[in-house]
């Protein structure tokens, strides 16, 4: 797609900028890509992720909609029926709930319903998770609702480069993708060039972010940096932890995850979402099913507590931090095995 000559040098960029660039590039390449949502046009989104798109491509390509999430997703369905590729922004996690019926009853089922005649190539971007001091309803980790809905892909980046690559892949996908953007990583920076992601794989592959031999931390999105930090700290206590960033919750990359767990013999799933019937339940269950005889200890889960998301001043007690991850590592029955 890009020639070597055109490649840009890597420069510091935020995740928000990489996401913006992904939409911009997709819109430039493909006139059927349309961005829509509340405040995405003139304002550029409350997180500025769509900044400049309306100016560059016009309001018909990047549209401020009326304030109605079911209407936004419902009209996007109709647009996809006519051959467009809508990229819908939900302003915050909890404000995607009004669109739940359209998502579950139509978006996820349209292809199957019509035996493939009517695919739903649309992306629902949802800023999710906590840690930004948001008031109630602004910090939900709602990924399990989408994971439990067959027909959807569920994707979440943890790095600037993945933010670009995964969003490009999501927009290119012929299936609906729920694209979860970790709010508290929006301003995380790294050196990155928009050219690099040409190498990013299509949706569905996890990646080992840190190799280790003692145990595997299975994680994604906002918890990836936490796990990497925990792995560094664990070194001091003699544990050499491997960190797997799932990137895609659906489809799930059993291969990468199980290869790691079979190697280490121990695993912990780490995420912000509440634990009970949360994403970690599936991950722990399937890893156990597939790697049972390699496991020296049960797969543990470090998750948000099973409570409504706390008010800002208390959220640090809820969010799984480095200490809580290390406490779990200590509980991995080290006396028992290898």
């Amino acid at each position: 797609m890009t020639t070597v000559a055109a490649r840009q040098a890597a420069k510091p960029a935020t995740m928000a900028q990489a996401l913006q660039r992904a939409m911009r590039d997709a819109m430039a390449e493909d006139p059927t890509v349309h961005v829509m949502g509340e405040d995405v046009g003139t304002l550029g989104g409350v997180f500025r992720v769509t900044d400049g798109l309306a100016k560059e491509f016009g309001e018909d390509r990047c549209t401020d909609t009326p304030l109605a999430e079911a209407g936004i997703l419902g009209t996007a369905v109709g647009m996809a029926m006519y051959g467009l590729r809508p990229v819908v922004e939900m302003q915050f996690d909890a404000f995607a709930y009004p669109a739940f019926e359209q998502l579950v009853s139509h978006v996820s089922r349209m292809r199957n319903r019509t035996r493939g005649a009517m695919p739903m190539p649309l992306v629902v971007r949802i800023p999710y998770g906590g840690g930004i001091g948001g008031v109630e309803h602004h910090s939900d980790s709602s990924e399990v609702y989408y994971m439990a809905t067959p027909g959807l892909h569920v994707v979440t980046p943890a790095t600037v480069a993945d933010a670009y690559g995964l969003l490009r892949a999501a927009i290119a996908s012929d299936d609906p993708v729920v694209f979860l953007e970790p709010k508290r990583l929006y301003w995380s920076k790294s050196d990155w060039s928009p050219d690099a992601p040409a190498a990013v794989e299509p949706i569905g592959r996890a990646v080992v972010r840190r190799s280790g031999r003692s145990a595997t931390l299975i994680t994604y999105g906002p918890s990836v940096p936490v796990c990497l930090e925990a792995a560094e700290a664990a070194q001091a206590e003699g544990w050499d932890l491997e960190v797997v960033d799932l990137r895609s919750l659906v489809p799930f990359d059993d291969e990468t995850v199980c290869a790691s767990v079979r190697r280490t013999g121990r695993a912990i799933v780490v995420h912000e979402s509440t634990g009970f019937a949360g994403p970690g339940a599936e991950i722990a269950a399937r890893v156990t099913e597939r790697c049972f005889h390699h496991l020296e200890a049960p797969v543990l889960r470090v998750a948000g507590f099973d409570i409504p998301y706390p008010p800002p001043m208390l959220e640090r007690h809820h969010l799984p931090g480095v200490d809580r991850v290390l406490d779990a590592v200590a509980r991995l029955q080290w006396e028992a095995g290898s």
Binding site: P66, G71, A76, N112, G116, A117, G151, P251
Partner: protein, 380 residues
């Protein structure tokens, strides 16, 4: 020019009260106090005889289709059938006012509208027969999938019409919904988006008096459902839903308006669901015979037949011919529906995603193995 700049979209501007300016005039948006009628009025004389004759043939076929489909439920050939008997004027007119390039968004009750638009009745009935969900390619027929979540198809229609307009295509979407469906949030959001975007959509509400057992008086306190239009800034039209000519005319005007960039219209057609909600329903629990009988006297076929006959546009031969054609259609339908559907259980995994995931491949293999074992008769 963006859609936001198109005429109508931006007529409502916030201005400080000190300089309050007249905004969209609500008067032309309000429906007439009486449902519009053609048959039995002077307007009938102006109506194109060819259209009336076509309507008549389709109404007769439509009624026969309804009774045949209901009969198929009794024979176990359909899982369920929500009949549109008594509402054929709306069903048929909705189909006939559209061009081939236009799109129809039926509600779950509107298989007849799809059939009148030319869809193979067996394909139209797939959902209700139960061999698959949608039995046709929506894009080929420009008929959105028949589906049960009420009012959810309305935003789809708006989005599609909007997309067509953005692409510069001369396409109108006609979306159908019941009186009960107007209470859903999706109705509201769809109409609002349509008006703000000035999308070429026509909303047809078939007010048939009931949402299953719930009468209209428990559904709304509005002067009429058509009055809802003014709150979105689109015209509301009230029409006698059993007067096929009137429905045809009102819908045609709305379609023409949408086509020329005039934006959406809300049409309320007052009609009546003569049969029970579905074959599984017991209507005697919530309404009396007298009401049903009164409506049977206002039957859409009878109304049109009387008018055509009086004006010499229909004679006994014509009536017989229409009945025979309908009977033929019914016989063919019966025959085809009596054949067992061909089903491949492996289809369960074929269309969940564009590309089958590893997970679904595993599960498909499991089912394959089970089926093979079953076929060999060696399963428990």
């Amino acid at each position: 020019m963006t859609v936001q700049e198109l005429p109508g979209a931006a007529s409502y501007r916030p201005t400080p009260p000190p300089a309050w300016k007249p905004r969209t005039d609500p008067a032309p948006l309000l429906p007439d106090p009486e449902p519009y009628r053609v048959l039995g009025t002077d307007a009938a004389a102006d109506f194109a005889p060819a259209v009336l004759r076509r309507l008549y043939a389709e109404l007769v076929r439509g009624r026969r289709y309804n009774t045949q489909a209901t009969a198929l439920t009794k024979q176990g050939r359909l899982a369920v059938y929500p009949s549109s008997t008594g509402q054929e004027a709306c069903e048929v007119a909705a189909a006939l006012v559209l061009e081939e390039r236009d799109w129809l968004f039926p509600s779950y009750r509107d298989t007849l509208a799809a059939v009148a638009r030319g869809l193979d009745p067996v394909e139209a009935l797939t959902l209700l027969r139960g061999d698959w969900h949608t039995g046709y390619d929506p894009r080929e027929h420009r008929i959105a999938p028949l589906s049960t979540p009420l009012a959810t198809q309305l935003p789809h229609a708006v989005g599609l019409a909007h997309a067509a307009r953005l692409k510069g295509d001369d396409v109108v979407a006609l979306a159908m919904v019941g009186d009960g469906g107007t209470s859903e949030g999706d109705f509201h959001e769809a109409l609002n988006f349509a008006a703000v975007w000035q999308a070429p959509v026509v909303f047809l509400v078939q007010n048939n008096g009931f949402a299953i057992s719930v009468p209209l008086a428990k559904q709304t306190a509005a002067p009429s459902l058509a009055h809802k239009a003014v709150g979105y800034g689109m015209p509301g039209r009230l029409v006698d839903g059993n007067d096929a000519a009137a429905v045809h005319q009102v819908l045609s005007e709305a379609v023409a308006r949408a086509r020329r960039g005039g934006g959406p219209t809300l049409v309320e057609a007052v009609t009546y669901r003569v049969e029970a909600h579905t074959n599984a329903d017991d209507a005697t629990r919530y309404r009396g015979d007298a009401e049903v009988e009164a409506w049977r006297q206002h039957d859409p076929i009878k109304l049109l037949e009387r008018d055509l006959t009086e004006r010499g546009l229909l004679d006994e031969d014509g009536v017989r011919e229409a009945a025979e054609q309908a009977e033929e259609m019914a016989a063919r339908l019966r025959e085809r529906m009596n054949a067992d559907a061909e089903l491949d259980p492996m289809d369960l995994f074929a269309h969940v995603y564009a590309e089958q995931t590893a997970q679904l491949r595993e599960q498909a293999a499991q089912l394959r193995a089970e089926l093979d074992a079953e076929a060999e008769g060696d399963h428990r």
